[in-house]
């Protein structure tokens, strides 16, 4: 193991980690918003919009992220839309993640027993109050494990953005391997970088899961 090489090039990974975290953060936030809206449309069977959500979910789930990124980065300019690599990466992650989040949150909504809604109704709650005070907290609580799994999945999946020349950790690694031939060291640094980003999220997820597990506390 060439420790000197790793120490000398560490700063590349630190800088690239910012890129990975930046696009992942916005990708995750937008995908959660998209997911919540789509899940809501489906659960409350809003006519037309729920069918649209379904089409989006199937389109997004069943096409690879790489293809979606190529479409955004190389395809859209032909239609006159020129987005930066960063914008494409965030939009791509949100587009992919939205469907995964929608499915996780739909599961959460469906786990709320009907009698909870009925109790709220008998107590005089309006629909909005029932949704915000009773249904949403419980739905999100049971959706936490799935959502956390999706967040981790999306951050890992963000390695694909290196294909559209965005200097994330994967891109830097490929670059280093190409120029230095210190393949083993570069990949070790890459793995460590991902672990440093992801392990805390994993731990926070477990804590949140316990904190909001209303059935067992």
């Amino acid at each position: 193991m060439n420790w000197t090489f790793m120490a000398q090039n560490l700063h590349f990974f630190v800088n690239a980690a910012y890129v990975t975290v930046f696009i992942s953060f916005f990708g995750v936030v937008f995908s959660m918003l998209i997911g919540l809206v789509c899940a809501g449309l489906e659960v409350f069977r809003i006519p037309l919009l729920s069918q649209l959500a379904r089409v989006y979910i199937e389109l997004s789930r069943n096409t690879p992220l790489l293809v979606q990124l190529y479409f955004l980065y190389f395809g859209l300019p032909k239609l006159g839309v020129n987005w930066s690599a960063q914008t494409c990466a965030i939009v791509g992650l949100a587009f992919l993640g939205g469907s995964y989040m929608a499915e996780a949150m739909r599961g959460g909504f469906e786990a709320v027993p009907q009698v909870q809604i009925e109790s709220a109704r008998v107590l005089g709650f309006t629909r909005g109050q029932t949704l915000s005070r009773i249904v949403l907290p419980q739905a999100l609580s049971s959706a936490i494990p799935g959502v956390v799994a999706n967040i981790i999945f999306l951050i890992k999946e963000s390695s694909v953005v290196s294909a559209i020349a965005l200097a994330d950790v994967m891109y830097v690694t490929k670059d280093l391997m190409g120029t230095s031939y210190d393949t083993y060291e570069s990949l070790t640094l890459l793995i460590v970088t991902y672990l440093v980003i992801l392990l805390p999220i994993s731990v926070i997820g477990t804590v949140l899961e316990r904190r909001f597990d209303y059935a067992r506390r």
């Binding site: 069977r45 009907q114 909870q116 009925e118 008998v122 107590l123 005089g124 109050q129 009773i134």
Partner: protein, 290 residues
């Protein structure tokens, strides 16, 4: 009871005989069903009285309570609360609407708080503590002051023996405790009538007593209520009026529960009541042996 509760349930002098709840020719039919679940049901629940509904499983008892609570649209007849019409039947097709619950029903918030209901399954909000479960509706729906709601909630919890569990989560309570909290949560809104839908059916036998005891005390305080139950001894002890529902039809109504249990008027009631007694035919066995 608290001040508000007592006055809400005290019979007003000129309305001594007034019915809190009147159901006239109620018909309930689900879409795509061959026959109605409830057919031409009529009865009155007088103020301060306990109205018990008996019947075999699938006879429509729970559905009846759900229509009164506004959780199910009705297809015929009407429901009146204190003489005021709260629901009328609409034939299927036009106003049948979607499934019950969040997205259905037209009753106003205020109207819904006037009918309290406790369900068979534990229905406390798991994301709220015991105290919050009880105070949420008065604060949110009736816009009452937080302090005042908390104070009344604690008084109610104290009366069902659960004031010390005010900060517990529902998951930390036994089934019997949850049902007692659920009763407090309904009572704090000062409903004109309380509906109890087999509230002890999911409980262990030793917890049944603690819940039924609370309901008995409420009856003694003059709370108007409608009870669906399979606990025959309880029904016999608490009822002022008793009805037997079978196949969606009221087969027997009685103002004399004692007479109903000892000498039921109809053959159907006799058969229903006989399912709750167990007797060995010892003499016959011996005859066959000898």
């Amino acid at each position: 009871m608290t001040e508000g509760q007592t006055t809400a349930n005290q019979p007003q002098d000129d309305q001594e005989e007034g019915a809190v709840l009147t159901v006239e020719h109620l018909v309930k039919q689900y879409p795509q069903a061959q026959s109605p679940v409830l057919n031409d049901i009529s009865f009155q629940v007088p103020k301060g009285k306990v109205f018990v509904v008996l019947g075999p499983s699938g006879s429509g008892k729970s559905t009846l309570l759900r229509t009164i609570a506004g959780l199910e649209p009705i297809q015929g007849g009407r429901i009146l609360l204190d003489g005021q019409e709260v629901e009328t039947g609409h034939p299927l097709g036009k106003h049948s609407g979607g499934p019950g619950g969040l997205m259905s029903g037209s009753r106003s918030s205020d109207l819904r708080t006037r009918i309290g209901m406790v369900f068979q399954s534990y229905d406390l909000f798991p994301n709220r503590t015991v105290l919050d479960n009880v105070t949420l509706a008065p604060i949110l729906v009736q816009k009452r002051k937080r302090d005042q709601a908390r104070q009344e909630a604690l008084e109610l919890l104290d009366r069902v023996g659960l004031a010390d569990r005010r900060d517990a989560w529902p998951s930390q309570l036994s089934g019997g405790q949850r049902q007692r909290v659920a009763i407090c949560r309904a009572l704090i809104l000062h409903p004109e009538i309380m509906l109890f839908d087999e509230v002890t059916a999911a409980l262990d036998p030793e917890m049944v007593r603690e819940v039924l005891q609370v309901i008995l005390e409420l009856a003694d305080q003059g709370l108007t209520m409608m009870i669906v139950t399979h606990e025959m001894a309880f029904a016999r002890g608490i009822a002022d009026h008793i009805v037997l529902l079978d196949g969606g039809v009221l087969v027997e109504q009685s103002d004399d529960p004692e007479a109903f249990f000892t000498h039921p008027a109809t053959d159907r009631a006799q058969r229903f009541l006989s399912t709750f007694t167990y007797e060995r035919r010892r003499e016959q066995d011996q005859d066959q042996k000898s």
